[in-house]
């Protein structure tokens, strides 16, 4: 595509509105419910190969809300959710809390940039954020006398990235479900 065509597309007002970049408002309840649901998904008693492949749903939810609705999300919420995750995980208290804070920090910095892309193109960039998060977790674990994990440990990044676009579209669709104003 030549630059002029892109420019024309961006200036085309109807096209811009049809792009659905304008987000539907999300209620606090909806955000809280999504966090609890993703925490429950993280607590599913999975075993074996499925457990190895399970993405960190909660991290994805935190990243999604902080990219698209930064005013709904904050580091304190991420820290609290991380503590819950740590206690459930029977790991070091503060490990996931720190990792989720890093997720919030990165998405806050790159949020405006990421919002320019559609979810499909956001996905690879999310992979980097998830990788940073896992490195924080590994760092804390190694500092508290654990061995370095092997490559299986990084598989959830792949599943998380694959999940990113469908989950984004699903949330967008859920948020657009408004009552019909002509119903009354």
């Amino acid at each position: 595509m030549n630059p002029e065509k892109i420019k024309n597309e961006q200036l085309n007002k109807e096209h811009y509105i049809a792009q659905e970049d304008v987000h539907a408002p999300a209620s606090n309840w909806f955000v809280a419910a999504s966090l609890i649901v993703t925490l429950i998904l993280n607590f599913l008693p999975l075993q074996g190969d499925i457990l190895v492949l399970r993405p960190d749903f909660l991290a994805l939810a935190l990243a999604y809300w902080n990219i698209n609705y930064p005013y709904k999300m904050g580091m304190s919420i991420a820290f609290g959710m991380g503590l819950l995750m740590d206690a459930g995980n029977a790991g070091v208290l503060g490990q996931h809390a720190l990792a989720y804070c890093v997720v919030i920090y990165l998405t806050q910095i790159f949020g405006r940039r990421l919002r320019l892309f559609n979810p499909l193109r956001q996905a690879p960039q999310i992979a980097l954020i998830l990788l940073m998060m896992q490195w924080v977790i590994v760092l804390v674990a190694v500092l508290s006398d654990a061995l370095l994990p092997d490559w299986h440990y990084y598989l959830p990044i792949v599943t998380g990235v694959l999940l990113w676009a469908p989950a984004s579209y699903l949330l967008k669709w859920l948020l657009k479900q408004k009552p019909d104003p002509d119903a009354l």
């Binding site: 429950i40 457990l51 580091m75 070091v92 804070c101 674990a141």
Partner: protein, 296 residues
């Protein structure tokens, strides 16, 4: 006085926030791994997340129930099979009882001290695994029985094949089990073949245990069965722990490197048994009487 409209107020920048929360996390991590001043904190969070874990267990429950329902179609067959196994075991049990009686008699003849309380003095509680963590750092599982079900710290956890681990953290309705494979976990064991005593420790890897500090010329072979020796009082004696997988005898080193694999499905079960060692009262009364007679 400075008046900034609410819209423009943002508080500290992202980097400052990250710094503050990193500091807070580091404090927590140090507290949790080294000092452990506030064990109540973990308890409180554990109580908060318990309902969530319960909800997360519902799908597994439904799966189990449908599995049971399907399995109920060939119940007759299974019943028959189990009866056969029962009869076989019955015969062995009778033999065992006879041997036990004979053994007791022989011991009496020898004037040997009574062994540590026999395995029959344990009480078992069935528990379900609520959660297995995903990251390879924590070799721990969460069970659905806690201090409200009279579970105590340090009780052994087994499955149908052998030792799984030990209870290390108690919540009111759930508890955490440190698995055999955890790096900081050791079990006193005995080789069945020649009753050589040692301690088997976790390595932090799945399916790998290590027998440390056994000299190069130790009489141990590949495939040797290791059972709990009962020393230390945490694990009842005679429960299978591991089989020796491979032995590397490096003549330049002082110790042989002996790797074994746990027998129990440490990471494969849905249900486990918590063994409560019932404190033998007779032992205490005996001691008391000894003291009393000493006084007299």
């Amino acid at each position: 006085m400075e008046t900034v409209p609410r819209f423009f107020r943002h508080g500290p920048g992202p980097l400052t926030r990250l710094f503050v929360f990193t500091l807070l996390s580091c404090l927590l991590i140090a507290e949790d791994t080294r000092f452990k001043y506030f064990p109540q904190l973990r308890q409180a969070i554990g109580v908060i997340i318990f309902p969530l874990q319960k909800i997360a267990y519902i799908p597994a429950n439904i799966y189990d129930q449908t599995g049971d329902f399907i399995a109920s179609f060939n119940l007759l067959e299974e019943n028959e099979k189990l009866r056969q196994i029962y009869l076989d075991n019955r015969e062995q049990l009778l033999k065992l009882q006879a041997l036990e009686a004979e053994n007791a008699q022989l011991r009496k003849l020898l004037g040997a001290v009574q062994q540590i309380e026999p395995a029959s003095k344990t009480k078992a509680v069935l528990a379900e695994i609520l959660f297995t963590p995903r990251d390879p750092f924590s070799h721990k599982i969460t069970l659905n029985k806690g201090s409200q079900h009279h579970i105590q710290l340090g009780q052994a956890v087994i499955d149908e094949k052998g030792i799984v681990g030990q209870i290390t953290q108690l919540y009111p309705w759930s508890s955490e089990v440190t698995l055999l494979t955890d790096k900081d976990h050791s079990v006193p064991v005995q080789v069945v073949r020649n009753s050589l005593r040692s301690v088997v420790s976790g390595t932090g890897k799945n399916d790998e245990l290590e027998l440390r500090y056994l000299s190069v010329n130790t009489d141990i072979q590949q495939g040797d069965l290791l059972v709990t020796s009962g020393i230390g009082g945490v694990y009842p004696p005679g429960i299978p722990v591991a089989t020796v997988l491979r032995i590397e005898r490096d003549p330049t080193g002082d110790f042989a490197q002996i790797i074994s694999t746990p027998i129990a499905g440490v990471d494969r079960n849905r249900q486990v048994l918590i063994l409560a060692l019932v404190q033998p009262e007779s032992h205490d009364t005996q001691e008391k009487s000894v003291i009393e007679s000493g006084k007299n």
